[in-house]
């Protein structure tokens, strides 16, 4: 099967489907998910296509299902989802059954809901009335209180009662109002009636359910006493305005009691009816909940099939549908089989025909990824989809990405935390996937679980090499450095340097990673580490870029661009080698040739001095001088001016070679193209293809011929841009790899600060309180370690690594001008539909 190194070979096929079999065949193809259909009626409006009716019916069904789902959610009934079981797309005739089922369910549910709402409204009214009767009873009881009555009488007097020449009769209305409206209501009443009404109110303790929105609301009972009809209308209007519900309330206590009894019995009855309605609704919903996911899948599949059928062309005879599709060449057999299955299922006698077509179009890019490689592939796709059959950087990224990340993030402790997190996500993959957590941040982490795991593991390795665990070091193999100073010297001097040319240094380096003594050397640790880390950044960078240029050779070979190999790849690799790889070699030479010699501390012997650190040249200065054809006057007369005999001559030669490479890159390709054209013009014919220029891959047809007409000046400009980009790029990109050093330094320093400022203080404190203090301090240190050092630093290192891959690595060979293969697949459609709905 296909490997990940290049995208799959694709073929354009024409598919003839018999009308009756089309549905079943497309359904089979959807299950397979390996075919990308092309729209053959791009000019036809979406509403004028053949199967628009069916699509609409599916939409309608989906709407009904969503309504059902909403109701089920409201009742909190769990929707069954059988993992791994996915119903096949139903036959078209089943669609009617489904429609009928949904219609019935929806109607039933709507009816039940309507009834329930009416009942609830009724219930609410009765409850309110109940409360009114109960509360107003209190008011009336107070009024009937003999002592108060007396008071009132004396207050108003006989005269007052007979004032208008008629008996004073107080009228009243009683009702229920939302509690938050009470103050406004009261004010309004007072103002509108000029204080001539008397309002009493009492809160209803239990919240009542609003039937239309089914919210719980708090209400109050009120009773208003007033005199006269004018006031009565006014009060009633105000009540209406405030949406208060008024209820008739008899004046006589006996009537009231009777009414209360009646209300109570009616409430009882209503309760039973309401309970039964709810039961019924619940039963309907539970039955629906069992199938709803299944139904969703079915409907979405039908819709997808008809949507795809809409892309097809109808034959003149109307008996056959014609489709065009991109297919991976390796899967032709599988697709044929699926089509045969589809035909059998539909009972059609005419087999479908799958024809390969010749095309000039660029096929889509399709990489067969698994769950491990897809994360890395997505990193590449985020930059650009590979051109068809181009070298795919993803397989190399699997290792180089975590490695470059780890160079910046090198810390055994932080790496272990990250690896543990990654491992947990990979270990619990299935249950976590099944949970379908919706948080976007979580999904990013979960999608990159394998990247995180690998980044963590590599960080642990680089952390071991840096000998850095939470800014402390491990002394596994025994340090190579010892103390030689006697006690009096130690007492006199605060800082002392160990000498590598004495037995302070055991004369063989620490076997694995950086010597633990450097972590203790607070005075000059940074100097040593910077020299080391800067060098390895450049070394790694140059290797990475060389690797990238070699990838371009592979591309040229595959596309048979012979000219490009000679005038692009060869000068490119020579340019990079003679300048930057040479610099890398100088670094290794410096490490090898210069050093202290044992027992010659302070020796003036010529050989010793020349190979000592005193004479070790700066690589950077050497490199700059090389580029400028300059020989530095060595101020140190004892030293050799060069690292090895003949260095100046060789370096001059190298720079000249590099300079010669530039015009070759610049003019080589346009020159060959011109030659080719001249030859063709002489022969007076148009050859089939410019194989040398844009050769063809495999048996694929020649790409569109507009290349031939490309103006020669355009070729020149294109090549000039390319060359300038490469030449300047190789300098700036080399420098860009210094970010490996910078971030790694920053990370180590931050970790050290966190340790020294927090945990160290806690560890130093003694006694019982010290334990408590340490407990608190540790929490702070751990929080900072995880949030800043692992998360934030990890993110920044991740982004820098991403840049190093996208810009520094991929610019050497990756065009990324393709477009993605998007097969018609139920899995994808259902996934995206499921996400959209949540």
């Amino acid at each position: 099967m296909g490997s990940l190194f290049r995208s799959e070979e694709m073929t354009l096929c024409q598919l003839f489907l018999q009308s009756e079999a089309a549905y079943a065949c497309v359904s089979e193809l959807g299950e397979l998910g390996l075919v990308q259909f092309r729209d053959l009626n791009p000019d036809v409006n979406a509403f004028q296509r053949k199967f628009v009716n069916e699509v609409r019916r599916c939409d309608e069904m989906e709407r009904k299902l969503r309504y059902l789902e909403k109701e089920i959610r409201k009742d909190g009934i769990p929707m069954l989802e059988i993992p791994g079981e996915c119903p096949e797309a139903p036959q078209p005739r089943e669609m009617i059954d489904l429609e009928a089922t949904f219609e019935k369910l929806e109607n039933e549910l709507r009816e039940v809901n309507q009834n329930a709402e009416a009942l609830k409204r009724n219930y609410l009214e009765l409850t309110e009335l109940k409360h009114i009767l109960r509360k107003t009873q209190v008011f009336f009881d107070e009024m009937a209180d003999p002592s108060r009555e007396e008071e009132q009488v004396t207050l108003l007097g006989e005269e007052g009662l007979m004032a208008g020449g008629q008996a004073l009769k107080l009228g009243f209305v009683a009702g229920v109002i939302l509690r938050e409206r009470i103050p406004a209501f009261e004010r309004m009443l007072w103002r509108a009636c000029r204080g001539n009404v008397f309002l009493r109110q009492a809160e209803i303790d239990t919240p009542l359910e609003d039937p239309s929105s089914s919210d719980q609301v708090y209400k109050s009972v009120f009773i208003i006493f007033f005199q006269g009809d004018q006031l009565k209308t006014r009060v009633k209007k105000i009540c209406e305005g405030f949406r208060a519900t008024l209820y008739p309330c008899p004046e006589a206590p006996a009537d009231r009691r009777e009414m209360a009894m009646g209300v109570m019995t009616r409430i009882e009855d209503l309760n039973t009816v309401l309970g039964q309605t709810q039961d019924h609704r619940h039963r309907v919903l539970v039955a629906a909940a069992k199938n709803i996911k299944n139904w969703f899948v079915k409907v979405r599949k039908i819709k997808a099939i008809y949507h795809t059928l809409n892309l097809f062309n109808l034959d003149v005879t109307q008996k056959c549908l014609i489709a065009e599709c991109w297919v991976p060449a390796l899967d032709m057999e599988t697709i044929q089989l699926a089509l045969r299955r589809g035909t059998e299922r539909s009972g059609s006698s005419v087999p479908p025909i799958l024809n390969r077509m010749e095309t000039l179009e660029d096929p889509p890019t399709y990489n067969r990824n698994n769950k491990f490689t897809i994360a890395f592939q997505n990193l590449i796709y985020a930059y650009g989809v590979a051109t068809y059959r181009e070298v795919n950087p993803a397989p190399y990224t699997i290792i180089t990405f975590p490695f470059l990340f780890a160079v910046m993030f090198g810390d055994l402790g932080h790496g272990a935390l990250m690896a543990a997190f990654g491992f947990w996500m990979c270990y619990k993959e299935k249950p976590l996937q099944a949970k379908k957590i919706d948080s976007e941040i979580w999904n990013i982490f979960f999608g990159g679980r394998y990247i995180i795991l690998l980044m963590g593991l590599f960080s642990m390795y680089t952390g071991l090499i840096y000998n850095d665990i939470f800014s402390k070091s491990l002394n596994i193999f025994g340090s190579s450095w010892r103390n030689n100073y006697n006690i009096s010297t130690l007492e006199e001097n605060k800082l002392l340097q160990l000498n590598p040319d004495s037995w302070d240094y055991l004369q063989s380096p620490y076997p694995f990673g950086i010597d633990p003594v450097w972590q203790l050397a607070e005075a000059n640790k940074i100097i040593f580490m910077n020299a080391y880390k800067m060098k390895i950044s450049i070394i790694i960078g140059v290797f990475h870029m060389l690797f990238g240029v070699c990838m371009s050779l592979w591309n040229h070979l595959y596309f048979k661009r012979r000219i490009s190999i000679y005038v692009e790849f060869v000068p490119q690799i020579i340019f990079l080698t003679v300048l930057f790889f040479y610099m890398v070699l100088l670094m290794f030479m410096k490490w090898t040739f210069y050093g202290a010699t044992i027992d010659h501390f302070g020796s003036q012997e010529e050989d010793i001095v020349k190979s000592s650190g005193f004479c070790a040249p700066s690589i950077l200065i050497t490199f700059i001088n090389m580029m400028l054809f300059k020989t530095d006057e060595n101020p140190r007369t004892q030293c050799d001016p060069t690292m090895y005999p003949g260095q100046i001559g060789l370096q001059k030669f190298f720079v000249l070679v590099a300079l010669v490479c530039v015009p070759v890159m610049l003019f080589g390709k346009p020159y060959f193209i011109m030659q080719e054209r001249k030859k063709r013009a002489l022969q007076g014919q148009q050859p089939l293809a410019e194989n040398a220029e844009n050769g063809t891959a495999g048996g694929a047809p020649v790409p569109a011929s507009h290349h031939q007409e490309e103006d020669i000046s355009e070729v020149f400009i294109h090549q000039a841009i390319h060359t300038i980009e490469y030449v300047l790029g190789s300098i700036s990109h080399t420098a860009s790899y210094l970010r490996l050093w910078a971030l790694s330094l920053a990370h180590a320093q931050l970790a050290e600060v966190a340790w020294n400022m927090l945990l160290r203080k806690g560890l130093k404190s003694g006694g019982y309180e010290g334990g408590v203090f340490l407990y608190v301090v540790f929490a702070g240190w751990a929080a900072i370690s995880v949030s800043i050092l692992v998360l934030m630093e990890g993110l920044s290192a991740f982004l820098h690594t991403l840049r190093l891959h996208w810009v520094e690595f991929q610019s050497k060979f990756y065009a990324g001008e393709g477009y993605l293969f998007q097969p018609f697949s139920f899995e994808v459609i259902l996934d995206s539909a499921g996400q959209g709905e949540e």
């Binding site: 099967m1 190194f5 699997i398 950086i514 050397a521 100097i527 070394i539």
Partner: protein, 84 residues
Amino acid sequence: MGASFLPITVFTVLWGVVGIVCPFFAPKGPNRGIIQVVLMLTAATCWLFWLCAYMAQMNPLIGPRLSNDTLIWIARTWGQPYTV
């Protein structure tokens, strides 16, 4: 001065086995190529990284500058050198 035979052999052989021998035994199947690339690149990067750290210390130009407390602690715990 210089390198000692043992660690260089051990680590070179270790990563050599991972990067050169193991790819031959990668499981057959569609992912064989990927597994081989992964193994080879892992070995190459890890070996290079180890090599750089080793070579950077092979001929030290400077020695660590330590405070006297640390030196006393070093003398106590790591012991004295052979010659003293």
